[in-house]
Symmetry: D2
Subunit: 288 residues, 4 copies
């Protein structure tokens, strides 16, 4: 696990001999001690991913200079990289509708420091959850939406996201389908949570369909938003057993517990830079 | 858990006052001590299910007479019922193709008595698994199949099933789609196992599709055969975590372990009369 | 799952022919439709447990009369029983110290109605969690404790519990060892949560000991208080995987998530009258 | 996951700047493409662990030369290392007593290639499992033991292990306590499986003790043998839910399923060189 003095370097590039070496050699030369390292080469996609946690051994580690000097070496490999400082709280915006199970969980983890986030705003198409945000002293923006006002509402939402400087948007049970334009803008840096059922069900009232089918498991999937809502790249999934005594409303309740845990875990992975997005899949260095 | 001296009485009928009482009073009157009882009323289907394990307190329990005397009382409630004696090994036929992970697991549980089954025959459309059956001294029927010979092959398979007196048919990775006629014949007393993926995938090479999607869970579903192959009433489901390092062949391997466990669990539930089939759903009194 | 119109009848007694019948016949005679029934006979303890959810079919169900009339029949079996009305919110007192992961979770479930409890008071030996209680408009009693003042403090705590009319006391990470007298008073109607590690560790800093040992799982146990603190009858247990990268503080954090889920589940079982206490063990009709 | 052409290099040493670089630079210089890399620095133990899967890009990879040339570089870091070729089947000896659930599972995985092992011998203090070994054409050595003959028996067992050239000894429910001398000889390269219960129980009949306590989970631990039997360094642990209806014999049966799965997983990790032993703990790069 990362600590107060560990930086994180993440990078990805096409597969080629030397992809690890270009990273690890540079860290060594800069007196950075690697405390945890994971790399993976996707042999089907021919793409390489690496994540290093490290501790600078010299005082006065200069991150600007580090990046400037690493950039040309990375460029040789067509490598994109990101350097994340220790102890940083990522500015986020949380979007919700009326159900608060995910919001309450996230705000608890925010308040107690379990998730290193700085919640800049809560945006909702309903006024219901304002008191919860208020108790945590977080600005709450009520942005109602109708089919007619959707463009304006999304513009307003976007304005708020931009103003807050959010680097991550969390859709914590925001029950509106984003427009293609909005999805495109949020692609890769917004995380959504939705139910996952075996077998999968399309259309309305999925839990009712699952009940009709007599499923014995219900689950949830946390994924990045991309242009294919509810079908974006999967970050993590959770599941729990149910039985015949679970009526549709019980399945929904069960689903809520899984949703909030799965969403929190996805955000944790994202903030720790454990998730890499490539094409339509993710690489997640979940543990160790 | 049932023991060497416990009988099982199962029954179901439309919901109506007295459904429990008609069963429990009769058991009391016949000096049968109930060691475990579960009943459930499905308020949406308006249907009632009950399972009782009991121990006759008088010697010389006469099961024929028990059933004869209970029948008219059950009839008043349009109740169907079944009485299962202790220590009985259910005659089964196992159908396979070439992969043996489920067959090996089932034969192990058969050999060690973990599953109270009497495996009367193994039927396969390939000769590969004959030695495994032979070591367990079980007749192995090689029934090859082509699109042209399907009717004859199914007739032959059916003949074997009938001759063995099988009361349960287990499709332990039998990779042929049954004809509607065969499915109808096996409806409700044949158990199949197949992969379950989140989200669901239709068509060929499901694990490859799941890989493309980057799923983080793979699972398996055990279900009764009905007229809708791979979509019959679910008995139980299993699931395990995977990650980006699982290539399609790794997902398949992972799936195998889940399949054999899930199939064995389904059969165990079925044999213990814990599974009730009603319309397109099951009620499963899994524990306690 | 129980609904707005289902009552719950629970009972236990020594094993004897007719234990089920005495309950189910009475329900039938009183026009009570059983929607869910579980009974279990512990053949080693020779003790019988039964739980019935039922819906009175006649209007004006008189619970007083029901109990008065059932009492003599139960007495014939040395049977103790309890009748629980639908929709009741059980008055509870929550005891905490400084960590709030369990309290926050319980208050969320209280606020949203997921747990049918009426939190009458929060008692703590520290002032830290007062704001959290205040936001939920729950009286917070700061009862500091020292070895010298323990008798007085426990007397004060007991006075508050009595005044509130609490029927359940929840020790949600209350980090004080109760005196034998206090434990005796709370025996069987107070639920505690504590860590569970494989193998078990005694003494201080259990997570540090677990780290030293390199455990791969950490867990939590929810149990009733009895005269043997941390060793009372187990209601439910939870567990999660960890690895070498979890330092002691990470194990503690992981433990917190399991603790709050396990505690909430135990309370849910208790309130639904799914837990029976007999000698030093519990019978829990967890599902269906 | 490793494939037919990937080698594995594992190493460990005291923590010091450059530990990663010395490995990754050497691989690069030798035209070895790293397909998967994990390193971890234990900041409490001040010890470093690394595992690299790699694919030589030049034909005619010379492993002898590779090791000879890497040795002096490793020596500078007091680093021990091991190079494992692709596709190798590790010679193993399996020790059992009378229960066959683990042996049957291991032989199945051996036969189907799921575990890359070459089972050279099965050793037992009982004759019971000879037919199972015979069907797999594996020599079976019956080495009976009494308190008096223990030294001679262990000498005989040791002779067989040595003669077979086994590199891993698997105690698959071998129900004898090894002598300190035998434990010392097997320290670090023999894997044992035993039950794990929450809370832990010492002494005889642990499942009976667990039953008395009313545990809701039972588990198993796979660990290396060292001088402290049943308490050696943990490799992996498994767990499953149980309830009041599980009598001691049911807990034992449940335990068996967990034991065989947990043992197989531990062996898989070991063979893939994912397990590092340091002092009394392990580092396990389980996934990715």
């Amino acid at each position: 696990m990362s600590t107060a003095d560990t930086w994180i370097l993440t990078a990805q590039c096409p597969s080629r001999l030397g992809t690890v070496d270009v990273v690890t050699r540079f860290l060594k030369e800069n007196h950075c001690y690697i405390t945890e390292l994971n790399s993976f080469d996707d042999r089907l996609a021919c793409h390489f991913f690496i994540r290093a946690e490290f501790r600078p051994e010299n005082e006065g580690f200069d991150s600007e200079r580090f990046q400037d000097e690493f950039a040309p070496r990375a460029a040789e490999f067509d490598m994109t990289f990101e350097l994340t400082p220790p102890g940083r709280r990522t500015p986020v915006v949380i979007m919700v509708s009326r159900t608060d199970h995910c919001l309450n969980d996230l705000l608890y983890r925010y308040r107690t420091g379990q998730l290193p986030i700085d919640v800049r705003a809560v945006i909702s198409n309903h006024p219901d959850l304002e008191p919860l945000a208020a108790w945590h002293r977080i600005p709450y923006h009520h942005c109602p939406i109708t089919p007619e006002t959707k463009p304006q509402q999304e513009a307003e939402v976007w304005r708020i996201i931009e103003e807050t400087g959010a680097e991550l948007v969390i859709l914590a049970r925001y029950m509106q389908v984003l427009s293609p334009g909005m999805s495109a803008r949020l692609s890769g840096w917004a995380i959504n949570i939705h139910h996952s059922l075996l077998p999968g069900f399309k259309g309305a009232k999925p839990y009712h369909q699952a009940y009709e089918k007599g499923v014995k498991l219900v689950g949830a999937t946390a994924h990045y938003i991309n242009d294919d809502l509810d079908e974006g790249p999967i970050i993590t999934q959770g599941v729990e057993a149910v039985d015949h005594s679970h009526y549709p409303e019980d399945l929904v309740a069960k689903g809520r517990d899984i949703e909030r845990q799965t969403l929190a875990r996805a955000i944790d992975y994202h903030l720790q830079r454990r998730v890499f997005l490539h094409a339509r899949r993710t690489v997640v260095f979940a543990g160790s």
